[in-house]
Amino acid sequence: MIKVSHLYKSFNSQAILKDVSFEVKEGEIIAILGQSGAGKSVLLKHLIGLLFPDQGSIEIDSRDIAKFSEQDWLLLRKKMGYLFQDGALYDFMTIFENTAFPLKEHTQLNKKEIGEKVRNTLSLVGLEGVEQKYPSQLSGGMQKRAALARAVILNSKILLCDEPTSGLDPVRSRDITDVILNISRHFNTTTVITSHDMKNSFRIADRLIIMKDGSLVAQGTREEIESTDNDFVKEFLN
């Protein structure tokens, strides 16, 4: 589904990503873990075409995204959902309007169908009765749930989540990762999560990737990561 090969990226001659390679299979949940500044968010932005690599390639559905036209990006983005760290909901729209936005833009559904789909998706993320509220009237965790509903409302095939638990307490962190797990299984999405929340990532991810200073230092299942000899990974896990 997603294949990243020998990815390099620098900003002002400072290397951010160094020879990063990994694959994500269809329907899989992958968590990319690492300290702040390890290059996780930069890597995620490459997958949605907000940044482009200096070297290396990214293939999505066996197509090299470097060769994508604007139209290709538009079609791909309709199939992808992106959960921003801060939700990035529109301040001037209600939760209903925010969630309905992708449907209004990219589908021919009528008002009634949109309303039904929005309510169903909000219910999937555990948000009911807040449709007419504005994002500023909700807590951080609820905003992330609403942003998640918006990200998957087009039945996204790929879901990218940038630090979904940052800024949340342990209970809310557990809640939002459970919601991501449910959503991923419900829509059978291929999910890539960046995080430094080991506990929850270990709980929901099929495979994990550990990054350090822009390089990938380990990848594998929970058991494989836990049994690795890499000093950094051992230190990170403890």
Binding site: K78, Y82, F84, D91, P102, E105
Partner: protein
């Protein structure tokens, strides 16, 4: 050494200025491209017209009535010295229609609606809402910028006409109740003095002002970075630039209009 550092900073500023202008022109090209392709969200334009208009209308109305009143008071005293106090209606009407209302309204509009445009887009930018729009497969220029710029272009001329009417009304009050000029005479003097050239020479300028304010303020909002501090910095910069552009373009346009139109 100091000279070398000064020259280095000087050339860096020039390069940054040229690059900034290039980016602003590219941004404008994108906006005009969307408009020419007919990608206009009319419901958003109407919403913006309402918001931008409502925000500026009270301050413009107050400034206009004050301008009309002061202009008539001063004009009446001056003209009375030459025994031509009945000409005060023409003086007030021509001053407001040709110059004062378009310029004052544009400056107030920059400070109110222009600042709002930059702050709104800037806050959306630093909170990733603009990137989110792109990620959702929607062009942020089409969705967020085109309606705001078009609304500027439509609202300011309406506000200017309103400002002219209110300013003249303010002058009328002083002329009639302070200078004891008969009301019907004041009105007929006003109407006789304003030719279509006078009205349009001021009115045309408002479209240039609206275009410059919309472009500057939307662009600065669109490139805002640096969190909440950045929003404040870019908003201040946008308003200052809009003021300068209005004042400078008014000087140039006035000269051109007077040369070719009289």
């Amino acid at each position: 050494m100091k000279k070398r550092i000064f020259l280095k900073h000087f050339f860096q500023s020039i390069v940054a200025g040229v690059a900034g202008l290039g980016n602003a022109l590219y941004f404008l090209g994108n906006v005009l491209g969307q408009i020419l392709r007919g990608k206009i969200r009319f419901s958003e334009v109407i919403k913006q017209i309402h918001e931008q208009g409502m925000q500026s209308v009270v301050v413009i109305a107050l400034t206009s009535i004050a301008s009309g009143v002061v202009l008539t008071l001063q004009g009446y005293v001056m003209l009375d010295r030459f025994g031509a106090k009945e000409k005060v209606a023409a003086l007030v009407a021509l001053s407001l229609v040709r110059e004062l209302s378009p310029v004052f309204s544009a400056l107030i509009f920059s400070g109110k609606a222009g600042a709002r445009l930059t702050a709104e887009l800037g806050a959306m930018n630093v909170n990733n809402q603009i990137v989110a729009t792109k990620v959702m497969g929607v062009d942020p220029i089409e969705f967020l910028v085109v309606p705001r710029m078009l609304a500027c272009f439509l609202v300011l001329p309406i506000l200017v006409v309103m400002s002219e009417i209110i300013g003249i009304a303010g002058g009328y009050l002083v002329g009639v109740f302070e200078a004891n000029i008969p009301g019907s005479f004041y009105i007929s003097q006003t109407l006789q003095s304003i030719d279509y050239v006078d009205f349009f020479s001021g009115f045309i300028k408002t479209f240039f002002f609206a275009f410059l304010i919309g472009w500057t303020c939307c662009y600065q909002g669109f490139v805002t970075k640096g969190g909440s501090l950045g929003v404040g910095r870019y908003t201040t910069k946008a308003v200052a630039l809009a003021y300068i552009l209005v004042v400078v373009s008014n000087t140039i346009l006035t000269k051109i209009i007077l040369t070719f139109w009289g």
